[in-house]
Each structure stands twice: as C-alpha cells, then as structure tokens.
Symmetry: C2
Subunit: 318 residues, 2 copies
C-alpha cells in the first residue's frame, strides 16, 4: 500500500454530469495528475455532421471550470445564435449546442477527419483547456448505446433529450461493442491503479458501456479489492438523468440496492446516501462493504467530502 494520498493512482469510470461533479471533488483531494477518468462514449452522436461526445465534454468542461453551472453540461455564458439560425434553415435543434460548445465539436471533427483517434483528440482539447486529469474515452472505436422501446430502437440522446425519456425501456444495447477495443492507456491505467472508483453515473447507459468494452470488466474484477462504487440513486430517484426510469422499466428495484446488485462482483465497497441508510444491511448481504454518507453533491465542500470518503474507503480497508 502506498504511503500517502499524494502517491495514489486513481481511475474513475465516468459518465457525464454526476461523474464530472465527483471529479471536481476528487481534484481537491488528490492532484489532477494522479487521476485517469475513463469516460463513456456510448452517447456520442453526430449533429450537423459534427462529432459530439457529451460525456467527454461534460467532464472536460467541468474540470476546466467552464461548465454551465445551471445545466451541468455545456459552456458557461454560451449563446445559441448558430442553432437559432440553423432552425431558420430547417435543421433540427432539439439537441442544444451553444456557439462556444460548437467549437469543440468542429475542432474534434476536423481532427477526426485527419484520422486522429478520439483519445488523442481528447488529450489535445484537454491540454488547450488546461485540464490536468487524464481523460480517456473508453474506446477509440465507435460504440452507440441504443434502447429498445415500444416506439422502436432509439439512440440514447433521442430517448433522453428529444423524447424526454417517456418511453419504456425494454433493453439496452451497445452497437459496435464487440469490435470496440479499449482506448490506449485504459487497461494499463486500471492495472496499475491503487484505487478504482465507479462514479455516481447511470449504471445502464454510462457505466455499463464502459464495462462492456473488451477487457475492461475483467480489469475491474481483478482490482475488486480496491474498487468502490457510488450510488447514483438517492432515495429511489436519480439526481439527474434517466437512471430511475430505466431501472423501473427494466423491472429492477429503483434504489441504491438495485444498483449495488449490479456491481456486487466488481467492487468491494458501495457508497450510499444517508437517506438510504436503511438499505445498508441488505446491500451488505450482497457481500459489499457499505459506507453511508452524504452523496448529494450540492456544493464544492460536499463534492470534496464525497471524494475524500471514496478515496479513504479503500485506503482504510487495506
């Protein structure tokens, strides 16, 4: 075991807003350079011919201190002039992309056109914005999360943003997952990590696609002893996003227990919110160590405290 927090190498499996907020806390506990975030790309999509990577962008903008604090995604003080004009030309504008935000997608698309892999593009964008945490897409290969619903098979953003998660989800699939290789550095970072944290992200559409990439779930299982997950469900509801609706429509228990049950063979420790304290015993029977704390990240102190708790949970257990 390492002697101090300053030597720890930490990997975070990350979705969008919840993971970004957690990482904001984590960089107050350890140096950004100690952290590798492996980020879901199953929600990636094309709009206006531009490659948009919502989770990578949310994490990057948040860690750069540029995120829109009202929404948790997009850029602070952004404007919507381009999309307003696009609407006038008859383009769909249901997926809101601000003017500054569009620059990220333009730049990413230009570099992709030149043949650069997403991982290298992400490294460059982060460097431009002064992000010290290493962000890795889960894969440089295309994976697309699609949801089977009574209304047909919907790409994630269409289900979530366009249709307002109103459809019952019968199953979730990750197109391209069989051919997707982990991005360079992903497995190495997991193998050498002192601590792996599954961020409070949607288990189905944020964490599951990451785990479904060849080799990643195995790599997590090998590190189970130093792996911890944080419940994205608090008091039977998701803080943000469709996790609760998806648990429900997939016939699972809409609770921290339902999430813990999915991670039971992958992590050692499971962190739940105080309001869910009564679930602790049931979760412990899944062979998980349970920590009860405040998981709602209302401000910087709460983010920091949750990160501290996650880091110490593993250190103390060793």
């Amino acid at each position: 075991m390492k002697g101090s927090l300053n030597d720890l190498r930490i990997v975070v499996l990350a979705g969008g807003v919840g993971a970004a907020r957690f990482l904001e806390g984590l960089v107050q506990v350890v140096r950004p350079e100690q952290i590798t975030a492996i980020v879901n790309t199953g929600d990636d999509a094309e709009f206006y011919g531009l490659y948009v990577s919502p989770d990578l962008d949310t994490v990057m903008y948040t860690l750069a201190g540029l995120v829109n604090p009202e929404t948790g995604w997009g850029l602070r003080d952004d404007t919507m002039q381009c999309q307003e004009q696009l609407a006038r030309y008859g383009e769909d504008v249901w997926f809101r992309l601000g003017d500054r935000d569009l620059a990220t997608h333009l730049r990413r698309s230009i570099l992709r056109q030149s043949g650069m892999p997403l991982s290298e593009i992400t490294r460059r964008l982060c460097e431009s914005l002064g992000v010290g945490v290493r962000l890795l897409p889960m894969s440089d290969d295309p994976v697309r999360t699609v949801l089977n619903t009574p209304a047909g098979t919907l790409p994630f953003q269409e289900y979530f943003v366009l249709r307002g998660q109103r459809d019952e989800v019968r199953s979730v699939h990750y197109r391209g997952i069989a051919e997707a290789r982990p991005a360079p550095g992903v497995l190495e970072a997991m193998r050498t990590a002192d601590l792996i944290i599954v961020a409070p992200s949607n288990p189905f559409v944020s964490v599951a696609p990451i785990l479904a990439v060849k080799g990643i779930q195995d790599a997590l299982q090998k590190k189970q002893a130093c792996a911890v997950a944080i419940s994205p469900i608090i008091g039977g509801a998701a803080v943000k996003g469709p996790a609760a609706e998806m648990l429900r429509s997939l016939g699972m228990e809409v609770s921290a227990y339902g999430v813990a049950n999915r991670y039971r063979d992958l992590v050692k420790t499971f962190i739940i919110d105080q309001v869910d304290a009564e679930l602790a015993h049931r979760i412990e029977r899944l062979d998980l160590q349970v920590i009860v704390t405040q998981t709602l990240m209302t401000g910087q102190p709460e983010k920091r405290a949750l990160a501290q708790c996650a880091v110490e949970s593993v250190l103390l257990a060793r």
Copy 2:
C-alpha cells in the same frame, strides 16, 4: 421591347459587397422575381471543414435585410463565440465567421454532403431567408481563384483577408475553370434576359471568373446590345476590395477607363461616376456608350437611383 419595367427580365453578374448593394437598389426598381443574379463562386473556400461561399452569402444576406451594415458582409448582430473558442483550440481564425453565419456554412455543408448541388442549396437557403431574387452560383462545379504573387500562389481569401492584399499580383487564375459548367438556369436566364447588368464588382476576381465559365462570355456577347456595366473604380480607387491594387499590379490603368477597356466587347453601355466625368470621351472611343452619374451607393436612395439609371440606360437605347 417590353412595354414596362414590370415585364423586364434582368440578369446581374455579381460579386460580393458592391453587387449586393446594387441589387438592393434594383429590387426597389423592379420586382425581385424579375431578377436573376449570377454570382461568382471563385472565392469559395473551406474553413473548419465547412463550405463557405462569400459572394453568395453577401448577396443573400443583403437581400434578406440581414447583412451587417458596418462591414457589408456577415450577419447583423452576430457574435464571435465559436471562433473565440476555436482559437483557444489552436484553429486559425483569420477569416471571420460569426456564430449565426456559421449556421449557413454548416447547413450548406450538410446539404453538399448529401450530394445536393450548390445551386439547389442556394435556392433553399434563399427561400428560408425570404430572398425573392433568384441567386444562381455561376457554376455547381468547383472553381478557385488563385493569384500568382512573389509570395507564391495564393487563394483569393488568403491574399485578400489574411495577407491584406499586400502582395503584388502577377496573374490571376481560375482553377477548375476548364471543367466548370454553368449552373442550371444560367445560360437560359442570359438568353432570355431583356437586360444584363455587370455589377460594380472586381473585374478580375468577381466578374472574370463568371465570364470564364464555359458559355457565359459568349452568352453575354450575344446580348451586348442590352448589356450595361458599372465601374467599380471611382476616382482611381475601388470602393471596397482590391480592384485598384490588382489593376495596378497587373500593369493596367487604375481607372474607370481601365475597367471599361476590359468590357469593351461585352457591353454596350458603361456607367461611370461623376468624379470620372473627364474619362467619358476616352471611354466612348472604346465604342461604348457612357453614362455619367453618381455611382457611390451611400444610402438607399443612391442605390435605387443607380439601379434606375442602369435599367433605363438600356431601355432608352433600344
């Protein structure tokens, strides 16, 4: 000859700002539906992977009442958020594209990707913006104006915008011109026109590329009797753009006479400004009918008066 202004079919060969202002006047004299503008596309360029057509945009924005009145190009009340962020990512931003303006280039690029020709794209954009004048690109095929200078061969926008027209121009070429066919409707509009007006645009980089497209110069010559050109040079200087510098560095006389000399076999009438009145006799010796009037389009009344003058010059001559 047609009985009234309301029946005239008018074709305007058009570059950017000068032509756009002239067309603003013309739509006060005749109905927009009577006008077909054949617009230079030799200045078209790609930025950030997007297809930009500066002259088509300038004419379209102007006729839609949306043009930035300060610059004569771009959109009124536009912002620069996207390019500011692109600069942060290391992209070149010397060619200013506002956030609303980018929507035009995004939309055009999407439609091009789908295989739609530029003429049909232009028709749709104009329809969205309520432009009643028919705008036709000179060609749906790519033509690129390049300038040979001591600094090398420069695309027009690089010479003009990036390098501030500081290079001596040794010659002008139109790449792709041999393969370029007139866009659908161009030759037909010229053939059936009652009046063809060469707008006060740069003779080398706005009008010449149009004339160089197969069949267009012939079509103009056939209509010489009802063709009129307006000098873009007033008192030895161009109102806007590099026409004067180009005349000079190509070894030609920097005056309305120099321009008239280029059009001598193509039009019947040449309109010059009052300040150039003393050139009238020399120009008449080129076998051109000369009209001296105010050609500087300082406001709407001046634009209207110039358009009226151009229209009547031909009507009266018949």
